[in-house]
C-alpha cells in the first residue's frame, strides 16, 4: 500500500466513530424528516404541509421572532464584546481575576439563574423599583415587547465574556509594528481600530460569528426557564413552536417546520462560507 493510501485509510478510521454517529443521529433522521414532511397521513401532499405552515399564525410568529432575535442580538453582541476587548487591551497588565470573571456567565447553568432574573425583571422587580424611584413608568418585561429586550440582555450578558476572550486573543496578535507605524503617520485612535485592527482580525470575527450563531439557537433554554411552555408572543421562538407541537404529535407539520428552519440556517452558513472562502480566511 502506498504511503498516500495508508494515510487515507488511517484518516477514515479516525473519522469512523463520529461518522457513524452522525449518520445514525443526523443524516438518517434528516432523510426521514424530509420524507415525512411531504405526507399528510398516508397521502402524498408534496409541498402541502409547507404551504399550510406559512398560513399558520403561530408558525409565522415564531419565524418572525427568531429572525428578529438573530438579526439584533448577534450584531449587538459582536459590537459590545469587541468594544470591551479593545478596552481590556488598552491595559498593560490585567489581573487574572478580571479575566476569570469574564467566563463566569457562560459557566453558570441557566436553571440556576432563573430566580435572579425574576428578582430583576418581574413587574415588581428591582429594575422596575429603580425606574419608579426615578419617576418613570414600570416596564412589563414578562408580557410586552420588552420581553424580547430582556431575552437579548440576558443573551448578551451570558456570552459577552466568551466573545471578549476570543476578540482579545485576536487583537493581541495584530502586529504592534502596524499600529506604531500608523501612529507615526498621524493616524488617530479611531482610524487605527477601523483600518488596522479590524481588517487584521477578520478570521477571529468569523469565528465569533459562528459561535454566536450556534449559541443564539440555545436561547430557548432561557425562554423556557423564564416563561415555561407558553411564553409571551414576543418571545415565541421557533423552538417553542416545535416543542409545543410535540404534544399534538403532528409529525408532518413538525418535520416541515424543521426543514424550513434548517434551510434558513444553511443559507446563512452558505453565505458565510462562500464569503470566507473568497477572502481566503479558511486556512
Amino acid at each position: 500500500m502506498t504511503h498516500k493510501a495508508k494515510e487515507a485509510v488511517a484518516a477514515i478510521l479516525f473519522i469512523l466513530p463520529s461518522l457513524l454517529g452522525i449518520t445514525v443521529f443526523y443524516i438518517i433522521p434528516y432523510i426521514i424528516c424530509f420524507i415525512e414532511s411531504l405526507f399528510a397521513g398516508n397521502k402524498f401532499v408534496g409541498l402541502g404541509n409547507y404551504i399550510e405552515l406559512f398560513s399558520n399564525y403561530s408558525f409565522t410568529l415564531a419565524l418572525k421572532n427568531t429572525a428578529i432575535f438573530t438579526l439584533i442580538a448577534i450584531p449587538l453582541l459582536m459590537v459590545i464584546s469587541f468594544l470591551i476587548a479593545l478596552f481590556l487591551n488598552s491595559f498593560k497588565r490585567i489581573s487574572a481575576f478580571f479575566r476569570s470573571s469574564l467566563l463566569i456567565p457562560v459557566i453558570i447553568p441557566v436553571s440556576s439563574l432563573i430566580v435572579v432574573w425574576q428578582v430583576f425583571f418581574e413587574d415588581y422587580g428591582a429594575i422596575n423599583g429603580l425606574l419608579n424611584a426615578m419617576g418613570l413608568e414600570s416596564v412589563e418585561f414578562f408580557s410586552s415587547p420588552f420581553s424580547m429586550v430582556m431575552i437579548i440582555i440576558i443573551f448578551i450578558w451570558k456570552y459577552c465574556g466568551f466573545c471578549v476572550i476570543l476578540f482579545t486573543a485576536g487583537l493581541a496578535n495584530v502586529p504592534n509594528a502596524y499600529v506604531e507605524s500608523a501612529k507615526l503617520d498621524g493616524a488617530n485612535a479611531f482610524t487605527i481600530v477601523t483600518r488596522i485592527k479590524i481588517p487584521n482580525i477578520v478570521p477571529t470575527i468569523f469565528f465569533v460569528f459562528l459561535m454566536e450563531l450556534i449559541y443564539s439557537f440555545k436561547i430557548y433554554r432561557e425562554v423556557f426557564a423564564l416563561f415555561g411552555d407558553y411564553p409571551d408572543e414576543h418571545v415565541y421562538f421557533m423552538q417553542n413552536f416545535v416543542n409545543n407541537n410535540y404534544y399534538n404529535l403532528n409529525y408532518p407539520r413538525l418535520s416541515a417546520a424543521s426543514i424550513i428552519l434548517s434551510v434558513f440556517i444553511i443559507v446563512i452558513l452558505l453565505v458565510f462560507f462562500i464569503f470566507e472562502r473568497k477572502r481566503g480566511y479558511m486556512e
Binding site: 498516500k4 494515510e7 487515507a8 488511517a10 484518516a11 479516525f14 473519522i15 466513530p17 463520529s18 454517529g21 452522525i22 443521529f25 443526523y26 438518517i28 433522521p29 434528516y30 426521514i32 424528516c33 478596552f87 491595559f91 478580571f98 470573571s101 467566563l103 463566569i104 456567565p105 459557566i107 453558570i108 447553568p109 441557566v110 436553571s111 439563574l113 432563573i114 430566580v115 425574576q118 428578582v119 418581574e122 415588581y124 422596575n128 423599583g129 450578558w157 459577552c160 476572550i165 482579545t168 486573543a169 477571529t204 469565528f207 459562528l210 450556534i214 439557537f217 433554554r221 426557564a225 415555561g228 421557533m238 423552538q239 416545535v242 416543542n243 409529525y251 424543521s258 440556517i265 452558513l269
Partner: protein, 278 residues
Amino acid sequence: MKKTKSVFKYIILILLTAVFLFPIIYMLANSFMQSGEIEKTLNFSEETFKSVNLIPDMFSAEQYYEVFFRRAEYLLKFWNSVIITLPTVILQVVFSSLAAFAFAKLKFPFRDKLFFIYIVLLILPLQVTLVPNYIVMDNLKILNTFLSVILPGTFSAFGICLLRQSIKYISYSSIEAARIDGASYLRIFTRIIIPQIKGGLVTLTLLTFIDSWSAVEQPMIYFTDKGMYPLSITLSDIADSDYGIIFACGVMFLIPPLLIYLYGENDIRSPFTTSDKL
C-alpha cells in the same frame, strides 16, 4: 491628567467585572438566608418593589440542610444530571479529538467537503434535529432511556472545529519525523497530538459539560418518566413554588461546572490566546 484617566479606566473595569459576577454573588448570599427572608424577596404577588439584598439578616444553612437531608428528590435529580452528563462529555471528547486529528493533519479524498457537511449538520439547532431524532430513537427502542439523550449529545461540530483548530498549530515536521521512525498514526495521535492540545481538550470538556448539564429540551421530549428528569428541568419548576430551597439548589447545580472551570482555568484560555488565528 493621565492619572485621572487611568483611575477612571479602573472604575469601568471594576463595574464590568461586577456585572459579570453579580448573579453568582447574589445566589450565594441568598442561599444562606432563611426561608422567611427569601419569601419576602421572591413573593411577587405582594405589590411592593423588590430590593436586591446581599447581606442575610440572619446567616443560616437551613436551605442546604433541606436540600441535602430532608428532600431526597433533589439529590436524585442531581444524580440524573450526572448520569446524563458524564458519558456525554467523555464520548464527545474522544470522538471529536479523533475526527479533528484526521481533519487537521491527514489527507484523504473529499476531506473539505466532508468537513463542510459536518459543520452544516452539527451546527443546526437542536430543535431541528429533535423531531427526526425522536423517530430514530423510537426505531432503536431507546426512547425513555438515558441513552436517548446521551448518544446524540456525543457528536458536535463545535468539538471538532475547536480541536481541529488547536491541532493545526502543531507543526507537520514532528508528525513527519514520527512517521519516518515508523510510528503508527494511532501512536502519533496519542503521543504527539494529545499532549499538545490540552488547552483545547479542557475547553471542550468544560463547554460540553455545561451544555449537557443544562440540557432541557432533550430529556423533556425523550423521557416519559418524569423521575428521570435532570435537575435543570426541575429547577425551572421549583422557581414558582419552593422558595425555601431555590437558591441552595441553584448553587448546588452550579458547583460542578464551576469546579471544572477553576481547575482548568489556565488551560482554557490557551487555545484562544496562543494561536495566532482562530
